[in-house]
């Protein structure tokens, strides 16, 4: 402790008599408190830095690149049972299944490749499998085998989870939703060359290519209430797709559409809502000349198709309405995997992403919305045979020609976010053209989240702009008058009154704006405009006439009380304006001004719009700007103004040429701080706008700001999800925005204070 005392920079008289323990204790206390206070003082900086870094810490994973690493590699289990036609894994990444071309299903452990169970599909004697397909809506787990006698078998692979001894146990099994008997597709008994299936709990649809025809057969199961037996109704139809070499068939998840792809890249869409009478909707070539289609699959949600071709390109095609309101296929975007042919494209099951594998074993992971290549790895040394991405997209299995299975771990938490998806136009599914859209969440898994921050930033700036438009003139002019012209007695009342206005909770301003002002302005829009026009004229007129009043009357009102005299004038004139406007509006516009705007200019009117926000938020920002600007003007050193006046300048000249110039940095910082407040204000915009994230410059339209968006969506977002982090990102954007403005304003004010004190 004595060393500490020696360092004490303010030695007091006490040091001299610090003999006994009590004196020592006093000094120890003194220095302890000193350090305590220093820590306390610095903690303010710590707090602001902590906020920043914490926000950053949550946001950063959004931009971290995805990673993949090999975790296992083993010999193909039960390789004698035939070639793999499909690899599958279940939810927990513990069990995988290998479907072979001989109708065997091998379930094995993902981690080790150890066989758990092998089961065969019951195929009648003398018949062999001619085609195989995975059912659409992969999560249902259905697959179909096409047989050489015109029949098909539908099988589901299922995984039951039990917890014996508190340990998770996953038991795989096969079941036949339509019975073990093969289903008749083609009565003539020709082999099914290609097959597609869609399995639902009460309905199964099979499409098969048989010779030069495409058969569509649907089986509807109806369970009667009492019997266990289900009656199956069969509907069938033949598509007129003759003479085309069909290479791929796909049914979408609502079984509204059937897609056929021929070997030349001609994609046809059929309307199959009526299972008995499918109709060709349109067809189009989706591939460049000289290339062939090597893979066709749906992107999650079954709205877009992913077409892999022999040039190593995967392109996303979607049906979009063209100028003539006809549905056509449009290429939304494409991804270059490599120069080798794409051999497999596997969609993620819960996101708009997919995995593409090329002939050389290059595996790429992509996200379609963000147009991002997340991972590109070279796996294995020989030609890939089959590949699968697990349902949670965190594991991938690849079988290679050298009879090996490679298991990779995939760490890909936030693929939907890229600079492009946040800040640029993105062509979302089911939209006619690329656009900026914020639409963050929905109940279903196959929803495409739309995280464009542009509409929110636009809304924020729009709201702030209108608020500043209202607040700046009123606050700055008010500050000039209060600081320089107003009588001191009145100033003593006015300044606290306006500052009190700043203390009003914004929730109350928002509530009044939303529930009182918005309906009022909707009714009296013309009155608002009329008073905006008439008030300045009235003030000017009043001021002009004022000088003609008899001196005796004028002298009764001391100098600097003009604002008080003007109050009744303003009240009366605006009341008149609002009253007259109603019949005037009816006379001039034959109805309301609102209707006139929408008829004449097509400007729609939202009850809660930017105008309301401008007025309400302007009200909230006025005190901030007023107070700081008034301080800056009021503390302009007196000798400057007195000097100017002594040289013969009028008070107004002194004001504009001396006072305002000197105080301009202070006024600037007042505006900055006001702007910061307007940008971050939450409750007013939340309550006074419709909170629709539209991008419309019209003052009569609503908006959604960053702050209101956080307040609306944060409580519902799942912790650490992409949505959660994107909301933190918007908070960080707000933080940085206001930080820049506030720091700038504070530095300017500090400079100004120094300048004043040196003057």
């Amino acid at each position: 402790m004595p060393e500490n005392l020696a360092k004490n920079p303010t030695p007091t008289a006490v040091t001299l008599v610090a003999g006994n323990a009590y004196q020592k204790w006093r000094l120890v206390k003194d220095s302890l408190v000193r350090y305590g206070v220093i820590v306390g003082g610095l903690s303010v900086i710590v707090a602001i830095v902590l906020i920043f870094f914490y926000l950053l810490y949550v946001v950063l994973p959004l931009f971290a690149s995805a990673k993949a690493n090999s975790i296992a590699e083993y010999v193909l289990p039960e390789k004698t049972l035939g070639k793999t036609v499909l690899l599958e894994t279940e939810e927990q990444n513990e069990v995988a299944a290998r479907f072979t071309d001989t109708g065997q299903v091998v379930f094995f452990e993902v981690a080790t490749g150890k066989t758990i169970l092998t089961q065969g599909i019951a195929i009648p004697e003398g018949i062999h499998i001619t085609s195989f397909a995975q059912g659409s809506d992969i999560s249902q787990g259905g697959v179909a085998y096409g047989l050489s006698d015109g029949k098909a078998i539908v099988v589901k692979h299922q995984y039951k989870i039990t917890y014996p001894n508190n340990q998770r146990l996953i038991t795989p099994s096969l079941n036949y939703p339509l019975g073990q008997q093969p289903l008749v597709i083609d009565e003539a008994g020709s082999p099914l060359e290609k097959i597609a299936v869609k399995v639902e709990s009460d309905k199964t649809i099979l499409v098969a290519k048989i010779a030069d025809k495409v058969h569509l057969v649907s089986f509807a199961q109806e369970k009667s209430l009492f019997a266990n037996e289900a009656t199956i109704t069969r509907t069938s139809a033949v598509l007129d797709a003759s003479a085309k070499a069909i290479v791929d068939l796909l049914i979408d998840k609502d079984d509204n559409q059937l897609y056929l792809m021929d070997n030349e890249g001609l994609l046809s869409a059929y309307d199959i809502r009526d299972k008995a009478a499918p109709k060709l909707k349109h067809q189009q070539n989706v591939i460049e000349a000289g290339q062939t289609v090597t893979s066709l699959t749906f992107l999650n949600g079954d709205i877009s198709l992913l077409v892999g071709d022999s040039s190593g390109l995967v392109s996303q095609w979607s049906q979009v309405k063209n100028e003539l309101k006809q549905l056509v296929f449009k290429k939304i975007r494409s991804f270059k995997v490599s120069d080798k042919a794409v051999v497999a494209v596997e969609s993620e099951q819960r996101r708009k992403g997919f995995m593409a594998v090329d002939a050389a074993g290059t595996v790429g992971l992509y996200n379609s919305t963000a147009e991002r290549q997340l991972i590109k790895e070279h796996i294995g040394t020989s030609q890939p045979i089959a590949a699968v991405l697990s349902p949670r997209s965190n594991r991938l299995l690849l079988e290679t020609g050298d009879e090996k299975i490679h298991v990779w771990n995939v760490d890909n938490e936030h693929p939907e976010v890229s600079i492009k998806s946040l800040w640029q136009k993105v062509w979302y599914e089911s939209y006619p053209k690329p656009d900026y859209i914020w639409q963050s969440s929905s109940a279903s898994n196959d929803f495409e989240p739309k995280y464009s921050l542009v509409p929110l930033v636009f809304g924020t700036l729009k709201a702030a702009f209108y608020a500043m438009l209202v607040a700046m003139p009123l606050a700055l002019m008010g500050a000039i008058y209060t600081a320089y012209f107003m009588a001191p007695q009145m100033r003593q009342v006015v300044k606290p009154a306006i500052e009190l206005m700043g203390a009003l909770p914004t929730v109350i301003l928002g509530f009044l704006a939303g529930l009182w002002l918005a309906p009022f302005i909707e009714k009296h829009l013309a009155g608002l405009f009329l008073s905006l026009i008439s008030l300045p004229i009235a003030v000017l007129l009043f001021a002009f006439l004022w000088q003609f009043l008899p001196k005796t009357l004028r002298q009764k009102i001391p100098e600097g009380w003009d604002a008080a005299i003007l109050m009744p004038v303003i009240v009366i004139v605006s009341w008149l304006a609002f009253t007259i406007s109603v019949p005037l509006e009816a006379y001039l516009f034959h109805g309301s001004l609102r209707d006139w705007f929408s008829h004449e200019f097509g400007i729609g009117y939202d009850q809660r719009n930017a105008l309301i926000v401008g007025i309400a938020m302007g009200f909230a920002v006025i005190p901030t700007i007023f107070s700081i600007a008034e301080d800056a003007i009021f503390s302009v050193p007196k000798h400057l103004t007195v000097g100017s006046l002594a040289l013969g300048a009028t008070t107004w000249q002194t004001m504009t040429k001396v006072v305002l110039l000197t105080a301009s940095p202070g006024i600037f910082s007042a505006v900055m701080i006001g702007l910061g407040r307007a940008v971050g204000e939450t409750m007013i915009v939340l309550m006074a706008t419709g909170n629709t994230p539209v991008m419309d410059f019209s003052v009569f339209q609503g908006l959604r700001t960053l702050a209101a968006n956080v307040a609306v969506e944060m409580p519902e977002s799942e912790v650490d999800s992409t949505h959660y982090r994107v909301l933190f990102l918007t908070a960080l954007v707000l933080f940085i925005f206001t930080f820049v403005f506030n720091t700038l304003a504070e530095v300017i004010r500090q400079r100004l204070r120094e300048k004043y004190s040196s003057l």
């Binding site: 303010t10 007091t12 006490v14 006093r26 003194d30 000193r34 206070v37 003082g41 610095l42 903690s43 707090a47 902590l50 002019m477 008010g478 000039i480 008058y481 209060t482 606290p496 306006i498 009190l500 203390a503 009003l504 909770p505 914004t506 929730v507 109350i508 301003l509 509530f511 009044l512 009714k523 003030v539 000017l540 001021a543 002009f544 000088q547 003007l566 303003i570 009240v571 109603v582 009816a586 009028t650 008070t651 107004w652 407040r677 940008v679 971050g680 939450t682 409750m683 702050a707 956080v710 307040a711 944060m714 409580p715 912790v719 933190f728 908070a731 707000l734 933080f735 206001t738 504070e746």
Partner: protein, 551 residues
């Protein structure tokens, strides 16, 4: 002449003056609007009987309060689809609160004045405030108990009043039983469950512990059964009586007394009755629980939650704010570091409040709270204790938000204390700490108080961050009650500001809830303006005092 007048700059000065006037008018207007609307809410409005010709030509009788009138010019009315005769210049419409939502499906109607055949305020129209479905307007026919008529016509009114008083008494017993006694039992049961789970987790749940817990459990259960039978009796008592009333369409309806809060006949009330009614309603507003999804009844839990949150916040923010201000004024050398701190303080003041909410939710709730749960409350997992928004986190978040207010006010107070006082103390041999503790801080205490009051005013009106860190629409229990440990910092709470937002914008029947929102807004505004005025007065007194000291 005009040119020289413009050159003199006088018009511009007038314009500037007009800006000040406009600001003043705006603030007076806003305050006036809230006061007028808020004060009027509890006054018993007269209920009119209106004979109204419907669109199909039929004349119907309606009971209702006329609450708003709109006048539309004929041209505009025509565009919105009204048929207007040539001699009509305007369309006058009245908004009438007709109540009886359970019968007609709507609370409000717009009536065209030209179709109102006649209008009167008969004394026998009765308003029934109900626990469900909002107000009922009608005429009392009879009072019944267990199917038998107790009184009808003239006598019915007094009998009904007496019966309602009885029922309300029983009702308050029911609430006491349900909330206090059974609530306490439920709380103890939950505690027992957690205790058992805790022992289980520690592998110390032996037979003796288990039987002790089971014993206690059984005791509580029997107690619970007792209360249940008591409750059953009380409910039976409450449900026995009912009112028979005639609606405006002449139909008779039965309203069980258990659903009635109060009845009154506004048209036959004298001024004194009305004043009494007013204060009765005001009292209910301030001290009762809300009813009907917060749109009726009182706001006591919201007041309580706000006050408690603000108090916890004060305890946290005052020491930090004062220490930071003391550092800035008394310890730090004015230079780069103090500049940096001032920038930080200004930024803390300028960061949007919703960002604090986001920070509070992520850092305090999920990180701090989540870890506290993991360390101290493993038994209640997966239900979070502190790992979910609650009053503690809300208070801490708001203390961060209001820190700059305290710092700035305290610093200003410290700056005003003359140097001579510190020097005098130091010269007499006091250490710096002693100088600070014995002379400087006591002198600055009014300034600290000012800062604290301003912080409280700010916190009381802040809503956006609270929406993320602990405020809820309806909290089943207060964060302070008779169950150990009395203060429950992990609970969620209600807040006046959020109440305004929620009832005004999220409630299913905004129109009916609006008067209540005005009343709540008035209360909040009064509290905040009161706090601010107090702060201003303290500050002014302080300034006077130091001016005297310096002189």
């Amino acid at each position: 002449m005009i040119a020289s007048w413009f050159k003199s700059g006088t018009p511009w000065i007038w314009f500037n003056a007009a800006a000040v006037s406009a600001c003043l008018i705006m603030i007076i207007g806003v305050l006036g609007l809230i006061i007028v609307r808020g004060i009027g809410h509890f006054w018993p409005a007269e209920v009119a009987r209106i004979n109204y010709q419907e669109a199909d030509g039929q004349v119907k009788t309606l009971f209702g309060e006329i609450i708003d009138t709109s006048i539309t010019p004929a041209a505009i009315a025509k565009t919105s689809g009204f048929k207007m005769a040539d001699n009509e210049d305007t369309l006058v419409q009245h908004q009438v609160k007709t109540g009886n939502r359970d019968i007609t499906g709507v609370d409000f109607r717009w009536l065209q004045e030209r179709n109102i055949k006649d209008q009167a305020f008969p004394g026998d129209i009765m308003v029934v405030e109900r626990r469900e479905w909002g107000n009922f307007y009608g005429q009392l026919v009879a009072v019944k108990e267990n199917g038998a008529t107790l009184a009808s016509h003239e006598q019915a009114w007094t009998v009904a009043q007496a019966k309602i008083a009885d029922t309300l008494k029983v009702y308050s017993e029911i609430t006491h039983l349900e909330k206090k006694e059974i609530g306490a039992i439920n709380y103890s049961l939950e505690k027992l469950r957690l205790k058992q789970r805790k022992l289980e987790l520690k592998n110390r749940l032996d037979d003796s512990a288990r039987s002790a817990i089971e014993n206690e459990n059984a005791g509580l259960k029997t107690q619970y059964e007792q209360y249940q039978t008591q409750l059953k009796d009380l409910y039976q008592k409450v449900r026995s009586a009912s009112l028979v009333a005639k609606t405006d369409s002449g139909a008779e309806v039965v309203i069980p007394l258990s659903k009635v809060v109060r009845i009154y006949q506004p048209n036959s009330m004298g001024l004194l009755d009305k004043v009494a009614h007013y204060f009765n309603k005001l009292g209910e507003f301030l001290t009762d629980d809300p009813r009907e999804a917060n749109t009726e009844g009182g706001i006591f839990p919201a007041i309580f939650g706000t006050v408690m949150m603000v108090m916890i916040m004060s305890v946290i923010v005052t020491p930090f704010g004062v220490i930071a201000a003391v550092y800035l004024r008394e310890y730090a050398k004015q230079g780069f570091i103090t500049r940096l701190i001032r920038i930080a303080v200004n930024n803390l003041a300028g960061v949007p409040s919703v960002v604090y909410g986001v920070f509070g939710l992520g850092f305090f709730v999920y990180i701090l709270g989540g870890n506290i749960d993991r360390l101290f409350f493993p038994e209640s997992s997966p239900a979070p204790v502190f790992g979910t928004p609650g009053i503690l986190w809300a208070s801490i978040t708001l203390s961060l938000l209001t820190l700059p207010v305290v710092i700035v006010a305290t610093e200003e107070g410290l700056a005003r204390i003359p140097k001579s006082i510190r020097e005098g103390s130091l010269a007499l041999g006091a250490t710096k700490l002693e100088t600070l503790w014995r002379t400087v801080l006591p002198m600055a205490s009014p300034a600290i108080m000012t800062g604290l009051i301003l912080a409280v005013a700010r916190a009381a009106g802040e809503v956006a961050p609270l929406m993320l860190v602990g405020v809820v629409k309806l909290a089943p229990t207060l964060p302070l009650d008779g169950n150990l440990p009395f203060i429950h910092l992990d609970r969620k709470f209600m807040h006046l500001g959020f109440h305004i937002y929620d009832v005004g914008f999220q409630s299913p029947n905004v129109e009916a809830a609006r008067p209540l929102v005005y009343a709540t807004a008035l209360l909040l505004v009064l509290v905040i303006i009161g706090l601010n005025l107090t702060a201003i007065i303290i500050r002014n007194n302080l300034r006077e005092k130091y001016r005297a000291l310096e002189g």
